[in-house]
Symmetry: C2
Subunit: 586 residues, 2 copies
Amino acid sequence: MQTYTAPLRDMRFVLHELHGGIHDNAEFTPELLDTILEEAGKFCSEVLLPLNASGDIEGCHFENGVVRTPAGFKEAYEAFNEAGWGAVGAPPEFGGQGLPHAVTHLIEEMLCGCNLSFGMYPGLTQGACRALEKHGSEELKALYLPKMVSGEWSGTMCLTEPHCGTDLGLLRTKAVPQQDGTYKITGSKIFISAGEQDLTSNIIHLVLARLPDAPAGVKGISLFLVPKFLPDANGDAGVRNPATCAAIEHKLGIKASATCQMNFDDATGWLVGQPHKGMAAMFVMMNAARLGVATQGLGIGEAAYQAAVAYARDRLQGRSLSGAKYPEKPADPIIVHPDVRRMLLTMRAYNEGCRALGVWVANALEEAEHGNAEAADFVALLTPVAKALFTDLGYECANLAVQTYGGHGFIRDHGVEQYIRDARITMLYEGTNGVQALDLVGRKLPANFGRSLRRFFHPVSEFIEVNQNHPHLGKMVQGFARAFGALQLATGFIAEKGMTDPEEAGAAATDYLRLFGLVALGFMWVRMALIAAEKAPLGGPDAAFYQAKLTTARFYMERILPQAGSLLFTIKAGKASLMELPEAAF
Amino acid sequence: MQTYTAPLRDMRFVLHELHGGIHDNAEFTPELLDTILEEAGKFCSEVLLPLNASGDIEGCHFENGVVRTPAGFKEAYEAFNEAGWGAVGAPPEFGGQGLPHAVTHLIEEMLCGCNLSFGMYPGLTQGACRALEKHGSEELKALYLPKMVSGEWSGTMCLTEPHCGTDLGLLRTKAVPQQDGTYKITGSKIFISAGEQDLTSNIIHLVLARLPDAPAGVKGISLFLVPKFLPDANGDAGVRNPATCAAIEHKLGIKASATCQMNFDDATGWLVGQPHKGMAAMFVMMNAARLGVATQGLGIGEAAYQAAVAYARDRLQGRSLSGAKYPEKPADPIIVHPDVRRMLLTMRAYNEGCRALGVWVANALEEAEHGNAEAADFVALLTPVAKALFTDLGYECANLAVQTYGGHGFIRDHGVEQYIRDARITMLYEGTNGVQALDLVGRKLPANFGRSLRRFFHPVSEFIEVNQNHPHLGKMVQGFARAFGALQLATGFIAEKGMTDPEEAGAAATDYLRLFGLVALGFMWVRMALIAAEKAPLGGPDAAFYQAKLTTARFYMERILPQAGSLLFTIKAGKASLMELPEAAF
């Protein structure tokens, strides 16, 4: 039996207390935002959570090109759109509610915590809408966006082909211009989430393909909009376009999300953006998708934590090492054991840290969209970190939850093994976490001579400067400063070595991303601790909340952040021991 | 498509070169042992590997109390016994071949690498045989062991009940003595691997239960032999005993291994060993099983490594960061990338290190069984370390293999996602890895005033003393000595703090076990490096093998062992941040 209660108190803390109410205005009062979050939590727990295990067990069905989602998904999807949850982040001009990113981000976290497979359907549509908004012609936007924002039609991203995923320069799908200004698209795509389904009356594929005169490699890729049904004169789904599903994949998890092999066979499409500039348009979608995947990791991490806490309170086994805590019961609940608490606190520290960091990035994205270049730099820098870190940690949470359950965690009925299977994809899609690490060291670090990097390093340095002698938390800040020092040294090492030898940067990439991520979470934790230290002594109903923040912060600093030291050590080891072994010797 | 080639060269290295041919004698010449390993590898690759994916997909079937194993399992099981693989480790007096533990251990590794689910069936039988050998009466041994050794009959371990796993003191199954000297056993057991199956004509359950006059807790538990069919006058399977399977579990992995809910309903049983001393008898089985599970982790780790290497050589994607390595191909194989090599080398360093450590422990077990008390101490100390470390690392290997495959790793057809699902159980059963850690710090460290500990610390100290100024590898030995120093400090910390407060030991347990394990692997790696450094310069066909050992040793020292520093730091943080948070605040 899976369980989920939206962590509303912590969400409010992050939104209003930690990152300041930057979105509070006449339109979005804090009270309104809180109400929206509360309602979203209710919807996710009541409508989506009950379909999570059943959808996993049933999976999607494929027959004669038709995909059927598991029982209940269609009804839930209708309820989801009726309540407007698919439209919360879209611009009002296309029927959206224009909520700030920070809030849609938190809603997504709940959605993914309750039902990651379900979340894929609206999630992909939102990504497609974003790319269309930015790069589509006015006509395409007017014709497609209102129906996609309302959820009547859905969207997909068609990038991967059997022989190319990370290296899109190899892609082969062709687009041939027609006299009427449309294109005929031909090729095979794989791993297309929601490429076919029975939830919507039309599916709008955004497809990467090559024009006949395209240069080789990634500089010859264009983006096309290819609807399943061509819109008729009224803008409704009309003639069937030959964009068909050949099969769906059997996979480890997210079984209720249809992962389709798609064939485009002279399908009619429209160019989105400029010829040969498809990668730029696709990156709009991809960057949003990467932050979305980060949120998926966090969502499952939180669900896993809640499941583990519930079991640790409930399962009676053995006695506390310091003497029976519940002598009237046949045994103590396992939450009395330090090693079980270690697992629970690790999850808690990860989740609350990632939530705080995620909202910081979401706020920056908001500012970036209003023209703040510094904020845009910050988002670019933090996107690969959040994607890889949140998904690695979300998966670790899923594993810790199973470990808390012991052998029972391995059994389907308890519902936690699904978290392992579902979370595992988040480390792989939208660029594997190794690819995120290369993006960080290869593109984002050197970008603009390190300017992006300063968007993170400067606020951290300032914070340390101001708070290192804090009366209560000075020691904690100093501990954090040591980890930040390790990150600075690692950055210098990579900047120097990587300049002359990109393999040196590549050799350090994964460890560096983890070090960066742990320091970023550490920054969130010291900042949260400072707020909690002020408010905990005030007493009242929230005192326990702030006290728990302080304890968890201390746990993070003492038990997680010390990894920074070892990471610096391995980063500085350099590439030699990685590159020395001849290929044949593996 | 899964693939597996037994790592025979490395097995020979560990068996003969690293740990010296302690088993070489007139009966078991090195050549004979090598031939046996080669034949075992062939059998596993040819007969068991092809059933691994199909068995996973089909799973076990349950209908009306009958369990059907997947297609091909019955035939494979017959071939397995016909070739004598189930009997390799059993004593000759019961029809076994009496091979040394080190060799049966390596055979088990191959078995688990090719088909963990299949391996469960003979594996459980072997554990049951061992307990019977040590604690059964001569009559029980004569009646049951020959048929169990030959594989005609199988064995199980019936410990867990729905409300108790780790805490067996809570168990409720009852045994009522009968006038004829037998007992009537009544109770429900869960998670009984191979509790019911269609491979053998009889199943011999070893069941923990309480006699009517039993003291409460673990001191009131006795062990009983309860056959599915009572042997008739000829010793063949006769009347059906009411020991029945009520259901099988749906679970994350090892789907071809039937995990049964068993009901004993006045089933006839025989006492094994002394009344109320069942835990001691069970621990014989459990300790052997823990080392067996360690081997399972290694087996899957090796299979995962091989799968990842094959894919990394085959998959063309992107170009080497130092310029195209295969300009004639559309892209380079991903094995050129440092981050991919990091994953492959991590797996390789884990697997070869665990193989070396596993054989060391197996050799000590051999000596212990010949009356060497020091060796027995060593085995007791290393058993929880090997169980938790090998399975944690095996699971990490499975995950790294999937990560190497990228999105393709998530798809069933590639066969690597199964390794994640199968490996996951090894961290849970036979005592979760957290329970192993508690066993290490709570029982094994303080045992005999630290005498057991010295069985590991002394040889390591001596080695460092002798080799720290080694002309070629002195620096490596010094690096290892630093990690060993961290382990010594951590041990002192736990010994001191844990003496007055067992929760302090509990708080450190998991990190301490990992630190211990990494140092133990490090010891194997420096020792292997020393041998390789002598032999690599000799040239010849093995030069590449020794050179690869040196490179991998260096990788382990530079990239894995530095974790020791952070672990010491977190161990020394103590229990406070774990125990402070009130239960209600989680």
